[in-house]
Amino acid sequence: MAIEVKIPTILRTYTDGAKAVDGAGETLSALIDNLDGSHPGLKGRLITDEGSLHRFVNVYVNDEDVRFTGSLETTLKDGDSVTILPAVAGGSR
């Protein structure tokens, strides 16, 4: 089961500069544990000590924000695309 995970610039120090890495897991939580195995330290940047997603980190599965689809318990399937992005003020307001 391969899931492509897009890594933002700011976290590429954990992936040797790779823009995207492959991971596995049936839930987002399992995927992040799996990624942390191959890229130690990554989990600590995404998840707080209390076990929830960091306030300034947004994670999307197939372009949909996981905070509205079950958060870390969001289920994943083969071929899903996961995108991690920092929360920013965005564009032209």
């Binding site: 933002p8 700011i10 300034f56 920013v88 965005g90 564009g91 032209s92």
Partner: protein, 320 residues
């Protein structure tokens, strides 16, 4: 009544128009219909007229703004243009802090309205513009920062205007889709509609930019607008430049609506929802926001050449 005492009085009450060609099923027992709220029909051509007018009016009412004051705002576009118009008519100065990678039309418009522009580095995106404006506010305590990201009058404008207008024009509304920036449109309209139609879905579409825009040094420099309350939303989509452009073009080609690129992102999210509802065999009336027209984005190349070429040209630009 279509006669008004001044330009400002004409804001709001924008048309809601159906999209019979892009909707999955326009007619029948279980229609899945899309409706566009044409916010480009506001005085300066964008939805931001509502927030700008409401924030200035609220600041006058509470005494923060007095004649001759200078308003300061981090804005790279429509809010600045809207504030500039209201400020001109009401006799205030305006200083806009904007990232340097914004389209030339917006700068020219702001300058015509008499606004002063202070540039912040492109690499810092809007985050840097917000930070720079906050520093300026400390240096110039007599300048009044309305601060669209945290000003309750921003959301209130939509609670009082956009929401009631939508429900009046579309009592069978099941979904509302809008762009997520300051979050004012979604918070205000969303709260109003949820009170009146408890099972309504409120859907956010946010632009996904090229990497430059996410150029933070540290995750802790991230930013979530003070107005944002995720309990108002049902779902939230991140839309790439490519998908936003594709839908912007669909809107012209199939429905004759010439909209800005952020509207394409919103339509993309609306269509995703429409397809899901349609697959379940349910009916839906999905209203979405047309934030502005396409005029201010012509120089970005969004409307010429292939989609792929246009998407590449947009890389690094703030298109919504």
């Amino acid at each position: 009544m279509t006669r008004y005492e001044s330009l400002i009085e004409s804001l709001g009450d924008t048309p809601l128009v159906g999209l019979p060609h892009l909707s999955p099923r326009w007619e029948g027992e279980r229609p899945v219909r899309l409706w566009a709220k044409l916010e480009d029909r506001n005085p300066t051509g964008s939805i931001k007229d509502r927030a700008a007018h409401a924030m200035i009016t609220a600041a006058e009412a509470d005494g923060r703004l007095t004649p001759g004051c200078t308003i300061l705002e981090p804005t790279s576009g429509n809010t600045g243009i809207s504030l500039a118009m209201v400020a001109k008519l009401r006799g205030y100065g305006l200083v806009c802090v904007m990232p340097e990678n914004t389209s030339v039309e917006r700068r020219q418009l702001l300058e015509m309205f008499g606004a002063r522009i202070i540039s912040s580095p492109a690499a810092g995106g809007s985050n840097q513009a917000v930070a720079t404006a906050k520093q300026l506010a400390e240096q110039y305590p007599d300048w009044v920062m309305l601060y669209q990201y945290g000003n309750p009058a921003n959301a209130q404008a939509h609670y009082d205007g956009t929401g009631p207008e939508l429900l009046r024009d579309l009592p069978t509304i099941t979904h509302f889709v809008a762009g997520l920036g300051t979050t004012g449109t979604l918070m205000g309209t969303g709260r109003y509609l949820r009170e009146k139609v408890p099972d309504i879905s409120i859907i956010a579409a946010e632009p996904r930019y090229g990497e430059l825009v996410y150029g933070l040094r540290n995750i802790d420099e991230g930013f979530v607008p003070e107005l944002y309350d995720d309990s108002v939303l049902t779902s939230r989509f991140s839309v790439t430049s490519y998908d936003a452009l594709r839908r912007t073009r669909d809107l012209i080609e199939q429905e004759g609506i010439f909209a800005g690129i952020s509207t394409g992102a919103i339509l993309h999210a609306a269509l995703s929802i429409a397809e899901r509802v349609d697959a379940k065999g349910e009916r839906a009336d999905i209203a979405f926001v047309v934030c502005d027209g396409g005029w201010k984005y012509l120089s970005t190349g969004a409307y010429s050449g292939s989609l792929q070429q246009a998407a590449e040209r947009l890389e690094g630009q703030l298109w919504a």
